[in-house]
């Protein structure tokens, strides 16, 4: 929809404008050496010089826990209130292109079967200001799963650092346009900018379609057990993943009233598929590891038309026992 530039020094003013427009701003912030998305009051609070936040921007639309409804019994009636979980108009600043893309995976999951109003309404009321990657590390593989360090998909406005003083600002959607038009004086017309020159170089490492084709035949392969022997079955990979969406529903009660909460869950947990009978179809870690890969690279492409991975590399970075998803995918593709 248009290309502008904005001076680094103008971002403070832009934040000010966004806030005075009544929107909350989430951005990467540093806390005790860890970079996470958090609410900021002003631009100087935003962290710089990191490759990735530990948790992703997914929390803006699928928080680690949220209220679904409240209930209470009055006499013989049950009263249900569904009013409290209303989205707060939000701008998420500094979203990496991989994370921005993941929002479309989340959207697809929560549109399937029925529209999930909590996720959908949060997506609708969120504006994504993306930030292209100028650096990457050995865990990044966005280009292997259809993304790119400067990919515009999923962002409403995408910023790319083009020199010491300026960002290129690509306006992708109406929401992005309205950010720019809220402070037109801060933006200038961009001339001819060779954006690619300023982006991180992330080489393509495998063929996603080939992987999708190969996986079904590998269901019974011994390779899963070989790969996952060192996996300890925690949920770190799913919780940091921008495109993992599994959740649990919990009722917390206090006498005659209660609150229904939704919170993150993980297919890596041993109890995730435990039946009431005691039977567990994924009773060992290799089956749970296989599920993680199959779901992202075989089932989701089939059912949603999109892979459940955007190549951010977070799971590999966060894994306490160095399960490296990229390396495992490459090994899967080499399996005969």
């Amino acid at each position: 929809m248009g290309k502008k530039t904005i001076n680094v020094d103008s971002l403070g003013e832009l934040f000010h404008k966004i806030k005075s427009g009544g929107k909350r701003i989430l951005a990467p912030v540093e806390k005790d050496g860890v970079i996470l998305f958090g609410e900021v009051a002003s631009y100087p609070e935003v962290a710089t010089g990191y490759i990735q936040t530990v948790f992703s921007a997914k929390e803006a639309v699928l928080p680690r826990f949220e209220e679904i409804l409240r209930f209470s019994s009055e006499g013989r009636d049950v009263v249900i209130e569904e009013e409290s979980n209303k989205p707060v108009p939000t701008v998420v600043f500094g979203v990496r292109p991989c994370d921005a893309k993941s929002l479309s995976v989340i959207k697809a999951v929560f549109e399937r079967d029925y529209p999930d109003i909590f996720v959908q309404s949060k997506i609708d009321s969120t504006t994504v200001i993306g930030l292209s990657c100028v650096n990457s590390d050995e865990y990044c593989f966005c280009t292997s799963v259809g993304g790119a360090p400067g990919d515009t998909a999923g962002s409403d406005l995408l910023l790319t650092r083009i020199n010491d003083a300026n960002y290129l600002a690509e306006i992708i959607t109406e929401k992005g346009e309205s950010i720019v038009s809220s402070a037109p004086e801060l933006f200038s017309e961009a001339g001819n900018v060779d954006k690619d020159r300023h982006l991180a170089q992330v080489n393509r490492q495998f063929d996603l379609d080939e992987l999708e084709k190969r996986l079904p035949a590998l269901f019974e392969s011994p390779l899963w057990a070989g790969q996952s022997l060192r996996c300890i079955g925690c949920g770190a990979c799913s919780f940091v993943c921008p495109s993992c969406t599994c959740f649990d529903i919990q009722d917390e009660t206090d006498g005659a009233r209660g609150i229904r909460l939704r919170c993150w869950d993980s297919c890596g947990f041993a109890q995730f598929t435990l039946h009431t009978s005691g039977h567990n179809p994924r009773g060992v870690q290799s089956k749970r590891w296989r599920q993680r890969i199959m779901h992202k690279f075989s089932y989701q492409p089939g059912e949603l038309g999109t892979a459940g991975c955007v190549g951010c590399g977070r799971c590999s970075r966060a894994c306490p026992v160095d399960m490296n998803i990229l390396q495992h995918i490459k090994d899967i593709l080499e399996a005969r």
């Binding site: 209220e67 917390e252 009660t253 206090d254 009233r257 209660g258 609150i259 909460l261």
Partner: protein, 151 residues
């Protein structure tokens, strides 16, 4: 605040303190009615999770009581329990939880008067401290409703 009546949960063993509390009653000794007694077989069975549950459900104070050392019906349940309390109380204190609200006692089946004294003094202490909201309000359910109820 002057009208605040603390809710106290007492976890007691069946063989000594529960019988002791019974004796308090049959001896017609009057004591504060703020206490709800939960009877368990032995102090060795009083899991720390029970104390946490009491606080998260709105207790303002907790009493844990059983047989004097060497008098446990199961010989050593209270010795084990004592070690656990030492560690638990210190851990809670280390986490900044208000340990002035947790009281431990040995009350035998013959000590009806002591039970009344323990309860009365705990009730007085906790009344002076005021309600314990900090802990339970960490749960969205308690915090939100408290605000609602007040409003």
């Amino acid at each position: 605040m002057s009208e605040f009546e603390p809710k106290i949960i007492a976890f007691v063993c069946n063989w000594c303190t529960y019988a002791g509390a019974d004796l308090t009653g049959t001896s017609r000794i009057k004591y504060a009615s703020n206490v709800r007694i939960v009877r368990l077989p032995c102090t060795g069975r009083i899991d720390f999770m029970l104390l946490m549950k009491a606080f998260s459900r709105g207790a303002d104070g907790v009493i844990v009581s059983g047989c004097h050392p060497n008098d446990c019906h199961y010989t050593s349940g209270n010795f084990h329990a004592r070690r656990r309390w030492i560690v638990f109380k210190s851990l809670l204190d280390f986490m900044g939880i208000d340990v002035r609200r947790i009281h431990f006692a040995w009350v035998s089946a013959a000590e009806g008067a002591k039970w009344a004294e323990v309860v009365n003094s705990v009730v007085n202490d906790v009344r002076a401290l005021g309600p314990y909201d900090g802990y339970k309000n960490l749960a969205p359910i308690a915090a939100d409703w408290r605000i609602q109820d007040a409003g």
